[in-house]
Symmetry: C2
Subunit: 293 residues, 2 copies
């Protein structure tokens, strides 16, 4: 299967799995469930599910286990978007080409949508009746660590504190390692756990995921600086307008691109030990970069 | 040990365990961790931890396992209070005798505090290195189900939709079974799981917890209608002022008290099979009622 077909197949099975794992919009309370589905379904590039499946394929993980892990990570990601778009955070009106959740519904509902999507992510991981409960439990702990105050939520807090400030490159990196890096790493490692990867493989993939996570952010900053709102499906140029530090602010576009190229090389190199089994991870890495070039 | 001493001992060990299980206020991002500790420490009656320990004692569960389960439930409870107090929800300024989290810090921080406390709850359950990972995993699923859109968060959504409406008694009960009942039931059942309770015992305790949960809410409504803000440590008379349906609105104080007495009897009766081992659960039931009489 060529890469675009593989990507499309994973995106489709993720959508199907999310539809199944989210409560029906007729289940009480109906408005909450309808708004959870509004936020989570029918949009997004599904980068984290793609990474989860690509990492799982290195170890021939069963696709249905990967679906649950991929959906759990995606639910955490969507919850963070819904809360991040709220008026007290980024106050954004457009997401994935649609009105943001609090615009389409209301602020209180969007707050609960994010809260309930986070809970649902842990429920999805915990209720996977698969073998090896000890490994499942480790996956819950891994996702919680990645999402919490020392991971994604912590990155949001660092982001809040950095508005209007000039950060050093190391500080910007610290923010992104938390804000986007932690969940991208979790996506990769959850996929590997579904395939019962050993510790040495987990270590290599951790290195890969750290490079891929930063790569993703640098490319995002380049896109945000250059693309139009219509192309992005979210408000473009927003970070710069809000005085948020970005790699483009700090380095300029040309050096940001050079940094992306270097991160890509490092990401590829960290996969060397897996040979052809890491084919999809290599392809995804290039795909992340090529969005911007 | 008499009941007040037991209660005080559990409250103290819960405080100690929460202090240990929450990230230090010096850990980056410091402001987020400081505000998580502000919201979670040094206040509250710790009703859910008390129920968790009392249920665990029926099965001689190890106290250190109970501490983790009790803290996980309490973190979920505190996150729900922090989000519930936000301007887009109840817009409250006083909680547990202190300024609410968004008043003391800011709205964005309070949003992240709630988000991160929820995550931390699942991390605490998942990282308990205790025996029997399958049971631990079931406990994660149980807590997630209780906290999510078909439990506590769903109850909040029903609550939002009911403001200014006249609910039938059944509808009010449906709301509370979700909003407060689900987490109280989880507190009891997590305690029982820590003691490796069998299914028959879990069934009896589920019945007990359902009665105790409603009892708690009816008593809360009576207190809210009658007590002063100073006594409660939160804004009194708020539900009625916001047009929220309460048992007192619907039944009047006298019939609400009769309902509480009936629920108390049913709660006691459901513990009959445990004999003296359920002593603390009996005492707690009476304590919940006597707050108001």
């Amino acid at each position: 299967m060529d890469f675009p077909s593989w990507m499309s197949a994973v995106q489709q099975r993720t959508e199907t799995a999310l539809e199944k794992l989210l409560p029906a919009s007729t289940t009480i309370p109906a408005r909450l469930h309808e708004s959870m589905r509004y936020a989570a379904l029918g949009g997004g590039k599904r980068v984290r599910p793609l990474l989860c499946h690509a990492a799982g394929e290195v170890f021939a993980a069963p696709a249905d286990h990967l679906d649950r892990a991929a959906c759990a990570v995606e639910m955490i990601h969507v919850y963070s978007l819904v809360h991040d778009d709220l008026p007290c955070m980024d106050d954004d009106v457009l997401r994935r080409g649609k009105p943001t959740c609090h615009v389409e519904y209301d602020e209180a509902t969007a707050l609960l949508v994010g809260d309930a999507l986070q809970t649902q992510a842990f429920q999805v991981l915990a209720e996977d009746g698969a073998d090896d409960p000890a490994r499942r439990l480790a996956m819950v702990a891994l996702l919680a660590h990645a999402a919490g105050s020392r991971g994604m939520a912590g990155g949001q807090a660092i982001d809040l504190a950095s508005v209007g400030k000039t950060l050093a490159l190391e500080e910007l990196e610290l923010m992104h390692i938390h804000k986007t890096g932690a969940l991208i790493r979790a996506a990769v490692l959850l996929g590997a756990h579904c395939g019962k990867a050993d510790q040495a493989a987990i270590d290599s993939l951790t290195h890969f995921a750290n490079r891929a996570g930063l790569l993703f952010q640098v490319v995002d900053d380049i896109l945000d600086a250059e693309a139009s709102t219509a192309t992005l499906g979210k408000t473009a140029g927003k970070d710069a307008a809000q005085g948020k530090p970005t790699y483009v602010n700090l380095l300029g576009v040309s050096r940001a691109r050079a940094m992306a190229a270097e991160l890509r090389d490092e990401a590829h190199a960290s996969l060397a030990g897996f040979g052809d089994r890491a084919k999809r991870l290599h392809e995804l890495t290039d795909f992340i970069v090529e969005r911007s070039f």
